[in-house]
């Protein structure tokens, strides 16, 4: 059971699955973040925008290495992974699945969100596909 967020590509030709927040992570937002429903929605959108702003090559590498990716979701952080899944056109797409949520004060020093991409052309939003499947 999850909430997913979808976004439209900049050329407005299609949309794609961006972020998945499973029940467990959502419940942690209510428990640890003491959030209201409206604040949870805002946080999910914030995390979605942060994921889209990251460098897609870095996210691709993290997905293949199975590394955790941290995303800001005020007043805390999502801990989760970037995943690669095929869409119905056989393109490999990047999306993010949150595993859990921690308050900002409980995060470890090394648990920091990735920096945004250097240029818009290399961010996830510009081309949310994995590897060379362009």
């Amino acid at each position: 059971v999850s909430i997913i967020t979808l976004r439209v590509t900049p050329d407005a030709t299609t949309s794609f699955l961006t972020l998945e927040a499973p029940l467990h992570a959502l419940a942690r937002m209510f428990e640890r973040g003491k959030l209201t429903d409206a604040e949870v929605r805002t946080s999910l959108n914030q995390a979605t925008e942060a994921f889209l702003a990251t460098d897609r090559f870095a996210m691709d590498r993290a997905a293949r290495a199975g590394e955790d990716v941290i995303l800001p979701a005020a007043p805390g952080l999502f801990i989760g992974k970037t995943l690669i899944a095929k869409d119905d056109r056989d393109k490999l797409r990047l999306f993010y699945r949150a595993r859990t949520f921690v308050g900002i004060d409980d995060a470890l020093p090394e648990q920091t969100p990735p920096l945004p991409a250097d240029a818009p052309a290399t961010n996830v939003l510009y081309r949310p596909v994995a590897g060379d499947s362009l």
């Binding site: 059971v1 299609t14 794609f16 959502l26 409980d106």
Partner: protein
């Protein structure tokens, strides 16, 4: 790090104590501490609210993910049961079921280091 604490019987460790141990060991799910029931209920309620705000037939096809677009087009006039059956055919490797007004997909194929070698990603049992 207080290693003795980990030898205490789990039921005798208070919630606060478990959290302190977890901080000391730098892990974030202290001894698999369960999510409180009330928090899960609130999360379920939010999922239901969002599902009711956006029933299947109301979602404009142009904003749907390509993964689901064909499904929504085909399932526009389906009952929920028929829509679930259709989605199961479309996503044979996913677990699809009905949850209130929402159709829930619980797993999805993802690809590991070798893209020719698919790995099923399934949520942990809770």
């Amino acid at each position: 790090v207080n290693t003795l604490a980990l030898n205490e019987p789990q039921e005798e460790i208070s919630r606060q104590r478990r959290f302190e141990i977890a901080r000391a060991w730098k892990v974030h799910e202290p001894l698999r501490a369960a999510v409180p029931y009330a928090a899960k209920q609130r999360a379920r309620a939010l999922i239901d609210t969002i599902a009711n705000e956006r029933p299947i037939s109301d979602v404009p096809s142009k904003v749907l993910s390509p993964i689901f677009r064909d499904f929504f087009r085909a399932a526009k006039n389906d009952s929920r049961q028929r829509a679930v059956a259709r989605l199961k055919r479309l996503l044979p490797h996913a677990s699809v079921r009905q949850h209130g007004a929402a159709i829930v997909i619980k797993s999805m194929w993802a690809y590991g280091p070798n893209v020719d070698d698919p790995i099923p990603v399934t949520p942990k049992r809770r």
